[in-house]
């Protein structure tokens, strides 16, 4: 380590130097990347009742090959008060104690090798927060990626740790709200407005039926009156044939009466 000795430098020059050295002494780089819900490709389950999906941080932590990258999931109000020196795998950041008393937990740890850069074309590089259902009650696994118990809102960020020393972090995401299922209340199931078709059919058919009934009544009432094309009724086909009488009978009958 080079030995540096201030040489008659005043406080005014030293202060900015010291201020510059402060973040470097803490060692956490603020990366400009902001985690966000996956938009490409559009996913049907990007947010569900207890899970959400964020993009993997590809090509973000390139300079930290030795670090383990953790995802910090926090309640919106607890995001600003999260202390980066909190260590994962302890009860202060255990998923099983979230959201009360733990207000932010750490999960989904991975090395840089899990996030190769650049992302190959066509690959879907996402992280599904809340997909592990087997360890929700298992306190021996505090970094469980369990389903989220409340609808939120949540904020997430990635934190790179070398050993147990934080070296880099991303910005916090915008608040993420999960979906809530509401009870189904139909506005109207039965007895909704009848369509015009149905009303037309009913009306027209009723009118036709009424006319037919009236016709039947009229027909039976005026039995035998009126006819087709004139006042004369037409006769049955049998009576049209004219019988040919034997002329003998014609002469005989008047004689018989007498």
């Amino acid at each position: 380590r080079p030995h540096s000795r201030p040489r008659h430098a005043g406080v005014h020059t030293m202060l900015p130097l010291l201020l510059l050295l402060l973040p470097a002494a803490h060692g956490i780089d603020q990366l400009g990347y902001r985690p966000a819900l996956t938009t490409e490709p559009p996913l049907g389950g990007v947010t569900t009742g207890s899970t959400f999906v964020v993009d993997q941080p590809r090509c973000v932590f390139n300079d930290y090959g030795n670090a383990v990258i953790w995802l910090v999931v926090a309640l919106d109000q607890a995001a600003s008060s999260f202390n980066n020196t909190q260590r994962p795998g302890t009860s202060e950041t255990a998923f099983q104690r979230f959201p009360d008393p733990v207000r932010a937990y750490m999960t989904l740890n991975a090395t840089l090798g899990s996030y190769p850069c650049p992302k190959p074309e066509g690959e879907i590089a996402v992280l599904r927060v809340g997909s592990e259902t087997s360890c929700t009650e298992d306190v021996t696994r505090p970094s469980c990626n369990g389903p989220l118990p409340v609808p939120g809102p949540y904020r997430v960020k990635f934190l790179a740790l070398e050993g147990s020393v934080p070296v880099a972090e991303t910005a916090w995401s915008v608040p993420i709200m999960l979906r809530t299922a509401k009870p189904f209340s139909s506005t109207s199931t039965a007895g909704s407005g009848h369509s015009a078709d149905m009303i037309a059919i009913t009306t027209i058919l009723s009118i036709l039926f009424a006319i037919l009934l009236a016709g039947l009544v009229a027909m039976l009432f005026f039995w035998g009156s009126d006819s087709c094309g004139g006042s004369s009724t037409f006769s049955k086909p049998e009576s049209v044939t004219v019988r040919r009488y034997n002329t003998h009978h014609v002469y005989d009958q008047p004689a018989a009466r007498l």
């Binding site: 490709p41 569900t48 259902t133 199931t189 039965a190 078709d197 037919l212 004369s232 049955k236 086909p237």
Partner: protein, 256 residues
């Protein structure tokens, strides 16, 4: 009188023609209704479960009405040619009864078609699909019908998989949201009946799950069914109306 003779013959000809058409339409109506009754496209269990089996009842009535129309048309033809008052009176009265039945069938089909809204199916699906303790046999019938519907038509839910996310359901009570955002039958399945990619299905990656709703698959056949029974019946009834009026006119002109 040549004039009234012509008039008679024209009227007789028209009535015979009308009855022939009625006979053919009766056969067609019977055939159409038999088709609907025997080939409900698998939606009949769903309809029965929603107490909407009346469209089927309308089709059954249609079968018998069709046969009755055919028989009555033959009676009508005989009555017109023989100009027999009794035959035609019997014909008119029986035809009016058939008219009333067919009218009931048409109106039933049309009314119940209107009541088959997406909400109705959504409520049934959310309440009864995969209900853990099926109250009666119809609950498991509903589950089977929905599974078959979703498998055959590659669809999910009524309006889409988001139905399972937006509303509380009996399915959600037994299946956790993280493992089952929607039922497994919504996933694209391979030949063995397993999801091609379970993670892809749970994430909702296009191509690994069915993102369209089943309402179109239900309403299409039901619409055809209902309108086939209702509108075809309506057309036949209008024709019968004209023929009956002519027959009444003819009857009143027959010599007593």
């Amino acid at each position: 009188m040549a004039k009234s003779d012509d008039c008679i013959h024209i009227l007789q000809g028209l009535l015979v023609f009308g009855n022939v058409v009625i006979g053919m339409c009766g056969i067609a109506l019977t055939a159409e209704c038999i088709y609907f009754v025997s080939n409900p496209h698998g939606v009949y269990p769903l309809l029965k479960a929603t107490d909407n089996g009346d469209i089927n009842a309308a089709a059954w009535i249609g079968i018998f009405v069709g046969l009755a129309l055919f028989a009555l048309s033959i009676l009508g033809i005989i009555g017109v040619i023989k100009a027999s008052r009794t035959l035609l009176l019997v014909y008119i009265i029986l035809m009016l009864i058939t008219f009333a039945f067919e009218m009931a069938s048409c109106i039933t089909a049309a009314t119940h078609r209107d009541s088959l809204t997406p909400d109705l199916f959504l409520k049934q699906m959310l309440d009864r699909y995969q209900k853990s303790e099926p109250a009666n046999n119809s609950d498991s019938e509903v589950t089977k019908a929905w599974d078959e519907l979703m498998l055959q038509n590659h669809c999910c839910g009524v309006t889409g998989p988001s139905d399972w996310q937006e509303y509380q359901s009996a399915f959600r009570l037994t299946h956790s949201d993280a493992d089952y955002p929607w039922p497994r039958t919504c996933c694209v399945l391979d030949t063995q009946g397993l999801p091609v990619s379970l993670d892809g299905c749970k994430l909702g990656v296009p191509g690994y799950y069915n993102s369209n709703g089943c309402y179109d698959a239900i309403s299409g056949p039901v619409n055809t069914h209902a309108w086939g029974v209702a509108w075809f019946g309506f057309a036949i009834l209008c024709w019968i109306f004209c023929v009956l009026l002519g027959t009444m006119f003819y009857w009143s002109g027959i010599e007593y």
